[in-house]
Amino acid sequence: MSWEPVIGLEIHAQLATRSKIFSGAATAYGAPPNTQACLVDLGYPGVLPVLNAEAVRLAVRFGLAIGGTVAPRSIFARKNYFYPDLPKGYQISQYELPVVKGGSVEILLDDGSRKTVRLTRAHLEEDAGKSLHESFQGLSGIDLNRAGTPLLEIVSEPDMRSAKEAAAYMRRVHQLVRWIGICDGNMQEGSFRCDANVSVRRAGTDKLGTRTEIKNLNSFRFLERAILHEIDRQIEVIEDGGRIVQETRLYDPDRDETRSMRSKEEANDYRYFPDPDLLPLEIDAATLDAVRATLPELPDRRAARFVTLGIPAADAAQLTLERDTADYFEAVLAAAPAVEPRVAANWVNGDLAAALNDAGLGITASRVGAAALAALLLRVADNTISGKIAKDVFAAMWAGEGGADDIIAARGLRQITDSGALEAAIDKVIAASPNQLAEYRAGKDKLFGYFVGQVMKATGGKANPQQLNELLRRKLG
């Protein structure tokens, strides 16, 4: 019997504001405990929340980017429950009327096809603090620095049918929030995390099975593994004649399993009601227009444009994973119009990406800037150096030895395009290889490569490959 998994995700993206959603405390990561928790964040008696304009602007940006409807009027509600990391005894969130409704994103499947994942909603809310369980005998320590950090909760429809699709969706949203600059996407610091709702049903049926919610998924890999594991667990339970219990489960990456979180179960009567300390959030058309005007070209559109430049779709997709990469790439093209876009794309996705990865750097911190890379590629395009030599020059540039032209000059890497010099080198090689010459002439074509290699060796790799091929063919007859 075959089973079909049904998966929906709730992604929490921390909005990139300086201050908290309802207070003037800083949102910076890693401060000593409770030094960034002001009276509002601590739920002190008498203090009141005032909404951060930037958090609203970033939420609107997201709504526009996914083609959702930005609500002209949305409401903040209180979600009431007791937990030590929740200082007020309630979380301010949006419930019945969220700031964004609808919208969708496209994901690329393994077979190259595209799938649309619909979004239910995205709403503004405040984050909770952290409980620390180490170092205090029998006690937990509470750090409320994170309390009140602005979050956008992005809720999808249950449109995904495999762990792979779920991971692709999560990556896609991750790409988008960073692209439009609303979230730094830093998963180690908890700026982008995910809960997954998972159920299974018999293939070919429509009715949804009972779902479980897996919390604490802070990497793409964990998401995929946790869902795979949960699907297997659910199928096993059902096939053994059991029933799935609707519950919250926690993924434990160390053991690679999910387990039930009973502590969260009992208090699910959240008693939502509109927060009387906050008034309806109204967003008018002028605000929407203003935010729309600042939206960058979105990744899909940009990738499609790159394809029109002759770049393969997969490469275009890779170039648009991050906006900084796409910007870098376009800066290279702008500085080197004579370079084939396809060639530039290969460099950005290839040598540059590898060097950045080895050095653990982001592209904006690249040791070879876009203009410098453009200068290098121009030297390949005008036949000053070969593509192979260019890799050495790039390495030298990366090592800080200077610009492409300086390195080419200093190391004497300019290609030998003087046919006289090249012919002399070829003659020398032929004279020194009588046996190979005989075999070649007897029909062993493969030896052509031997001669190319010998000449390249003799010229220190500086022979222009095309010219060399031509001359060699003539001489070998």
Binding site: T17, S19, G24, N34, V56, S131, I142, E282
Partner: protein, 95 residues
Amino acid sequence: MALTRENVAYIAHLARLAVSEREAADYVVKLSRILDLVDQLRQVDTAGIAPMAHPLPMAQRLRPDAVTETDRREDIQRNAPQAAEGLYLVPRVIE
């Protein structure tokens, strides 16, 4: 509307109150009386009436995104019943 002991126990748990047996019995009587009072509303015809969440017909004002608060942990934690190393301490949280 009359409340049962079970209702009272459930509400007390949600409200995190350690209600004694005697108090629970008292709640059954007094809360039921209060509910009788508020139940008068159930008969009121409110079809088509927009709920009034707030006395003022205003929209939410927005605050500029600026850090205005400084660290006052030492001062503020003087009110804390139990704190150490800057953390508020509570009985072990089990997840």
